[in-house]
Amino acid sequence: MTSLILCFIKYALRIPLRMREEDLLIGDDAVHGEDAYAFGDTRRSLLHGDTERVPNNDDGELGVIHAKTPLSETGNGESSKSYEKAEP
């Protein structure tokens, strides 16, 4: 029954069961326009993209919050996004 339903969605309704490949590479931001975390060091948040945490020692803790350059400039977020896309 599950197979019938999925085939119906795929072939009769013409709705793809999978996301597009480019959305698969990016994830939440591409699908929903949202990110799970408002801070972090790999991707900038749409809401709080103006801060970043810089490690001040090597004990694995996140470190202190610094002000961050605006989105338009080559900030951490921009570069990490293009890095994500460029990955094989």
């Binding site: 029954m1 969605i9 795929k10 709705i15 999978r18 994830g27």
Partner: protein
């Protein structure tokens, strides 16, 4: 009975049934919502949480407008597979005494309590299934899939076992949904995962959880919420409800311990994600048995649920090509189908005469009380469900594929 005359109402039963239903609701929102959000890779946190969140909402509307009556209403025609679809949303529908017409069960609370209680089970079945589709399914396809699967698959299983259909008539015990919920969602999840196709290779290779603590919050809500899942199924705040709650927790605790010991033995480290898998298999395995087996039976069940799905997931799942080809994201097949079948079969062995009587069944217990017939009764289901799960590979089973 009319809505204004409430002589049938038992305040205690109604209070407990609403509480139990709400506990099961909490298992989905936020329980599995945050468990999924935490256990997946960072970039899929929102998508995974949202799939679960959406399913909960979509199932309720379909449920009250047509699906409840397909699962628990009057039998449709002469075939004992499904009820007549129809809405259950009038004021009289909500206020009159609950009644399952086909099986003649009439609990001492209103219909609205019954409809909500059965809804949260239907919802969590879809939410569990989402666990097999995470990390690549098109959200629009999921939005269409949820109502269709609820309508054409869940209702059939629920009617057959709980609504008074043919499996219930045969005497099969499914205390709280081992087959209706766990085997069907795990199997359908596996089949669906095959159709949808795998995640990106790099996501499969590196799918480290983005927030293990959030996952543990979800796991805790899931565990304690199971008190409503199994404690609510006597449809009354009776002695058997207490037994079911205690047995559920005993089995789960044992399962966590065994899974962790196996992790230490084979992987040299106790991993908390493994412990959560063990928790889930324990909860699933005790579900068909909770109110009918004894406390020591729950310990036995926990030993098995902590070990058999462990081997299925860590040995079979990693060695066999089928499990590598089909990308069941969270291993729902192992934690729900394998554990569910195991729990169902062990119910046939461990069920006690007193437990069955307390639950309102006339079955003379399971194999430990000399009723070996119960073991074989739990068995045909096992065959129907598994063969239907692999219906792409086993042509003869197409005739029964309707069940998942």
């Amino acid at each position: 009975m009319s809505a204004t005359n409430t002589s049938w109402l038992d305040h205690g039963d109604n209070a407990w049934q609403l509480t139990a239903g709400s506990l099961v609701g909490l298992q989905s929102i936020p329980g599995l919502v945050v468990l999924y959000a935490g256990i997946v890779k960072r970039k899929w946190a929102i998508n995974s949480a949202f799939m679960a969140f959406y399913a909960f909402a979509a199932v309720l509307i379909c449920w009250v407008v047509w699906a409840y009556n397909m699962a628990f209403g009057e039998q449709w025609g002469s075939a004992p597979f499904i009820g007549i679809p129809g809405p259950i949303i009038s004021m009289d529908d909500e206020l009159r005494q609950a009644l399952l017409p086909t099986s003649g069960i009439a609990p001492a609370y209103p219909m609205s309590t019954m409809v909500y209680f059965q809804f949260v089970f239907a919802a969590i079945t879809l939410v569990i299934m989402a666990g097999a589709f995470l990390g690549r399914m098109n959200f629009i396809a999921w939005m269409v899939f949820v109502p269709l699967w609820l309508t054409f698959s869940y209702t059939v299983g629920a009617f057959s076992l709980w609504g008074g259909g043919f499996l219930a008539t045969m005497g099969v015990i499914d205390y709280s949904g081992g087959y209706v919920i766990h085997v069907s969602s795990g199997t359908a999840g596996f089949v669906g995962a095959w159709w949808i196709g795998p995640r990106l290779t790099r996501d499969r290779d590196d799918f480290r959880p983005n927030n293990v603590l959030l996952m543990l919050v979800g796991a805790g809500i899931l565990w304690t919420g199971w008190n409503g899942f199994n404690g609510g199924d006597p449809y009354s705040a009776n002695a058997d409800a207490g037994a079911a709650v205690l047995n559920t927790n005993i089995c789960t605790a044992m399962s966590v311990l065994i899974w962790t010991l196996l992790d230490i033995t084979f992987f040299k480290k106790p991993a908390v994600i493994g412990a959560v898998q063990g928790m889930i298999t324990g909860l699933v395995a005790i579900t068909p048995a909770a109110g009918v087996i004894a406390g020591w039976g729950a310990i036995v069940m926990g030993v098995l649920s902590g070990s058999i799905p462990w081997f299925s997931m860590n040995i079979v799942g990693k060695r066999f090509a089928l499990f590598k080809k089909v990308d069941d994201t969270l291993g729902v097949y192992h934690t729900h189908t394998v554990a569910g079948i195991m729990g169902g079969m062990m119910t046939g062995v461990l069920a006690t005469t007193e437990g069955c009587a307390a639950f309102g069944l006339t079955n003379p217990g399971g194999a430990i009380d000399g009723n070996w017939k119960q073991v074989s009764l739990e068995n045909p289901l096992f065959l129907i469900y598994t063969s239907s799960g692999f219906n792409l590979l086993v042509p003869f089973s197409l005739s029964v594929s309707i069940f998942s």
